[in-house]
Symmetry: C2
Subunit: 682 residues, 2 copies
């Protein structure tokens, strides 16, 4: 049995006082949880955690997720003590402009932060994704005597995270998947912002996690019983056939006169309280950000051991490379964040002679080809596989081998009806490392909204996550308005750093996948049709990946139609109809507005020049089209339940109705100096 | 013990064949679950359910929620048999244009439908809301011998609903709240769209619900053991101190040659299969939509008994009215959907001399006053009470009396950190009846996105639900980009039938509440600041409820600023700065774009006339402003963690930066014929 010394206790108190000073200096933040979780953090990082602070990107490092991200003063303090690139000055600029210690942990901002947390429940599900990635890569690459990928994923979580549905979804799936290397430590402090958890959260958490088939371990004294915490983590590690949650009873704001109350949750402590705490912990209350030498030594030792651990792995990997050169090369390529050479050849192209195909079906073909070309592509669906068409023919399911339904090398994840969990798990998969896993998964476009919280964090965290969002409009027909997106695409277009694709045909669908796979710092949502789409004259992958392009140019254009997805062929039909009346209509296909916005102003004005009106056609809300079009043909109400053609007709989305409106527009703008919507002062 | 006869069996088979014919005729829909759940439906509606089909709005009716809404052929069949306004012809036009039998149940479209379901998990949480409403009204109005509100809420749910996080959130809260009149029947058919539930859903559902403190009853043979189903429901009713879930083992598509497989889930059955099923059930396969006389008789009997039940209640209510005239008058007013006379007097008004106040704080004052004026107003928060300021001083918590923390007459709901559940529960509260409960609840604006699925259904279902969405922008400061909304308001503005309010001061906040409370068919999201806002010259409730109005008019305007919320005072500041350079800027305050869009074209063009450029100022994405402004001052990236003023400065949202940009805009438009963005052809 491991023993802890006075120096460990001092280290714990150092973590507490550093977190306190950090929050006090900012005069903003959450002191309570860091003070409560300091012992668990110290035990975990000093005795178990395998990582090299001087190389935070080592592929087989243990992953740490602070799901209760508001406790990030704790994490920043630990990163500092461990020797990551977080200085005392960084702690002192907690929550200040352009610091690397923002109010909640952000991936990409701070060395050693694995995922962005704060929005509750997300980190929990991210950790499930990280654990899936480890299990998958282990099953794919490990060989006898060569545990190349065998890291643990540790996650701290609070009451708030466990109340959120997204964590419930992820927890159920993690139990099903028997993720033995996933260890959660639950800060059971009985306090949330509204007060005692007994006002809203009286469920039996342990029993709930048992129902998910997790191992549950209770530690009665998380405030000071370092040995018990140690034993619990050791026991968690020993159970390799299921995830573990350690229910750690702690006192929020331990040491404060208000400890154990919500008063210490989200505001800096009072000055006198801080003084008393420091005295109680044996610190000089006049000193701030103090780190005793004993603590420095402990943490220097941890860092040294971490460097040695990585070095040993590097040696192991060298031997592995000798024995398994092909696998090693693939791992190296992935770690370097490179797609396999020539992968683009998997993208099919089409001519107008090819048959009309639904873009979800085109996506199915693409995924089948890309699954061969890109071994790190991992697909899945939220229980809509036969509708999303996200599974290639010979796919193996990612399943615990004991299930007999697949194994951990499988690249198809059965997420269940858990869209939000799926989104946050995909973020975790992507966070494991650049090309180690590229996650893609399907649901109906309308239900990507259930995962809005996760999509937002993928965007904020610059993660390549691919949503295969089928049944993308009223074109899904009979399922009706409960399933027909109207606002969904506008929502995600409005979200920064999120590419929304709505391809119009086969070439554009190939372009969409090209972009999604090469946009390494941006999530992509591919909105795909249930219904067939003709192959268009003028489309190409090259055109598509400009975001918008002139599909059909005409002389003396009276107007330009700009359309997306299934409405591009409607624009073509309408232009043909107008041509019979001698009206020349240009057509712009705009599969991705975000990427079009990144093109040169010159190109943009070529696509949408001054001189004639632009009409957008899209079977969604007109909201947002004012930026690109003078007038909009749209659907600003909810849809309807009926066969697709009947729904399109009901809402006037037919070539004859649109051509009549187009004539009205031409007439209206005759007397007006028409400036391109893109021709702006700012 | 109740006994079932051959006629009951025939009724069950009738329900099955009717559902089959309904789906087959549409050539679209879900036959499996209706065939599996027909026995439970028959037992429930023939032996337990208290409702009067000829008056579907009777206040104390039992509520039925089909959370697995894709099984709606079942519900439509039952509504038809029971004598609601659903004819055989309506069944024959299932999923056809403008029918009253859409692809998923929609509140307001079909007589007898209580809530809109289909998006999985929502109905489950709606049922929790309906049960809360009953408990609350019972505690508020029932007297000894007068159980005016004592109905049960029954809900059918499938595997899909139980995988969704939203149902987990609601289930945990329902257990906490000990909702004894809530009875769920879980169609445990081991099948979801992807196949056997063992591929993704292997948790122990019974144990999970026990962990939430629900009563769990298992019925092994839900396909034909009517007596067991009966006993289970009776036992559920007998347990009045906690909700019950009946785990009903059924065979999906019972009777089909593919029964028990996902093949019968979401597509019409084959013709030969249908013929064999009808033969097996003793029906003529050549006959469609057949209802045997015995079945008609049973259901006529149920309807008759239902009418008698309501009549008895009306008599009871008459006696109640004699004894408790005040309470009865209040109930009657609420059922009639009227707010109390003079409630508007509770809305405070302000002058520029009044101090600057955060709009969340203004909202707190309003809620305190409105709580007195409008007794049906029920507030709450997703564990952010001290931040949202949603609780009035003397509020009683809605809690089980045994908790000692409140009682069921309480009007403040502690939702826990469960935004999606909260949203769907609010939809259920609103669904109980027009003014019986008016739900309002708080979270940070950014986390309304977690509840997107529920907000969407409130909008589609025309429900008055009020979101108190505080911390509405980068103005929240240090919590940083994980908590600062950028796209959120655009998302909900793009959603049809959803009013997004962003009041700029006290008068506008009063206007926002005025609108939210009187918009009986529309949910409202009130985006409120953390930071103080000055009281503006020119604002008033009357102006605010036009959605947008001229806050400051000037002669020879060089431009108009249109701004919302906290940016209106920034526009005022900027206009004052420009005035020093002799530039006249008009200011339009636009607290609610949706309501402005409903004003007359004439009024709209008065507010935003031709002749000079319009610049929008809003600390969100510019997405969507093209409809109202020529140019936008906006924030098209994520925010930053720092004190609020520093964040505003970082993103150029200060009067000096904006005034410089304004000059550039004026210059640019000098050479262009400037037409109002609202002056459109279509
Ligand atoms: Ca807590
Ligand atoms: Ca099922």
């Amino acid at each position: 049995m491991v023993s802890f010394t006075d120096n460990d206790i001092k280290a714990v108190q150092t973590i507490r006082t550093l977190a306190l000073d950090t929050v006090n200096k900012a005069n903003s933040g959450h002191p309570g949880a860091p003070m409560g979780m300091a012992p668990a953090a110290h035990v975990l990082f000093s005795k178990f955690f395998k990582a090299n602070p001087s190389n935070s990107k080592w592929a087989n490092r243990d992953r740490f997720v602070l799901s209760n991200g508001h406790a990030c003063a704790l994490q920043y303090v630990l990163l500092h003590l461990l020797g990551y690139k977080v200085t005392l000055d960084d702690l002192k600029s907690f929550r200040q402009l352009d610091s690397i210690t923002p109010g909640h942990p952000e991936l990409g901002v701070t060395d050693g932060i694995e995922v962005t947390t704060g929005p509750l429940g997300q980190g929990f599900a991210n950790a499930v994704g990280l654990a899936i990635a480890q299990a998958h890569l282990g099953a794919t690459f490990n060989k006898d005597g060569f545990p190349i990928f065998d890291n643990h994923t540790y996650m701290f979580t609070g009451d708030g995270c466990l109340m959120e549905g997204v964590s419930a979804e992820a927890a159920s799936l993690a139990g099903h998947l028997k993720l033995g290397n996933l260890i959660a430590i639950y800060d059971d402090n009985k306090i949330s912002i509204d007060g005692d958890t007994n006002i809203a959260f009286t469920e039996d958490v342990a029993k709930r996690f048992e129902s998910y088939d997790w191992q549950v371990i209770v530690v009665e004294n998380g405030d000071s019983d370092l040995a018990a915490i140690h034993d619990a983590i050791a026991k968690a590690q020993a159970e390799t056939t299921k995830p573990t949650i350690i229910q750690l009873r702690t006192t929020i704001g331990f040491g404060s006169k208000d400890q154990g109350t919500h008063g210490v949750h989200g505001n800096p402590l009072k000055k006198d309280d801080t003084i008393e705490i420091k005295k109680k912990f044996g610190f000089n209350p006049e000193e701030f950000f103090a780190v005793p030498n004993e603590t420095k030594e402990i943490y220097a030792g941890i860092a040294k051991k971490g460097a040695e651990t990585e070095a040993a792995w590097e040696k192991l990997f060298g031997d592995y490379a000798t024995k398994y050169p092909e696998e090693a090369a693939d791992i190296k390529r992935r770690i370097d964040g490179k797609l396999p050479d020539g992968w683009e050849k998997a993208l099919p192209t089409f001519t107008p002679a090819d048959p009309a195909v639904a873009s979800r079906k085109l996506s199915e073909t693409l995924l089948a080809k890309l699954s061969v070309a890109i071994p790190e592509l991992v697909s899945g669906s939220a229980d809509l596989t036969p509708s999303n068409l996200t599974r290639w023919g010979n796919a193996v399911d990612f399943q615990p081998p004991s299930s007999g339904l697949g194994d951990y090398s499988g690249r198809y994840i059965r997420y269940g009806v858990r869209e939000h969990g799926m989104g946050a798990i995909m973020n975790g998969l992507a966070a494991y490392g650049p090309n180690l896993v590229i996650p893609a998964a399907g649901t109906f476009l309308n239900f990507v909204s259930y995962a809005a919280g996760a999509v937002r964090l993928a965007a904020l965290s610059h993660q390549r996550v691919i949503w295969v969002a089928t049944h993308d409009s009223i074109g899904l027909g009979e399922d009706g308005p409960t399933h027909q997106p109207i606002e969904t695409v506008a929502h995600f277009r409005a979200l920064p750093n999120c590419n929304v694709w709505r391809p119009a045909d086969g070439n554009e669908t190939s372009g969409a996948y090209h972009s999604a796979l090469t946009s390494t710092r941006t999530p992509s949502i591919l909105a795909l049709t249930r219904q067939n789409l003709p192959q268009l004259e003028g489309s190409s992958i090259e055109n598509a990946i400009k975001g918008a392009y002139v599909l059909r140019d005409v002389k003396d254009a009276a107007l330009t139609f700009i359309a997306t997805g299934s409405e591009v062929s409607l624009a073509v039909e309408t232009a043909d109809l107008l041509a019979k009346d001698g009206i020349n209509a240009r057509i712009v296909s705009a599969p991705c507005l975000e990427i079009f916005a990144q093109q040169s102003r010159e190109y943009q004005l070529q696509v949408l020049p001054d001189g004639h009106p632009v009409i957008s056609i899209e079977a969604y809300t007109s909201f947002g089209w004012g930026k690109l079009a003078h007038e909009s043909i749209s659907l600003d109400t909810f849809g309807a339940s009926a066969p697709a053609a009947a729904v399109y007709k009901k809402f006037g989305l037919t070539s004859d109705v649109i051509s009549t409106k187009a004539k009205k527009v031409i007439e209206f703008y005759k007397s007006i100096q028409v400036v391109s919507p893109l021709n702006k002062a700012l």
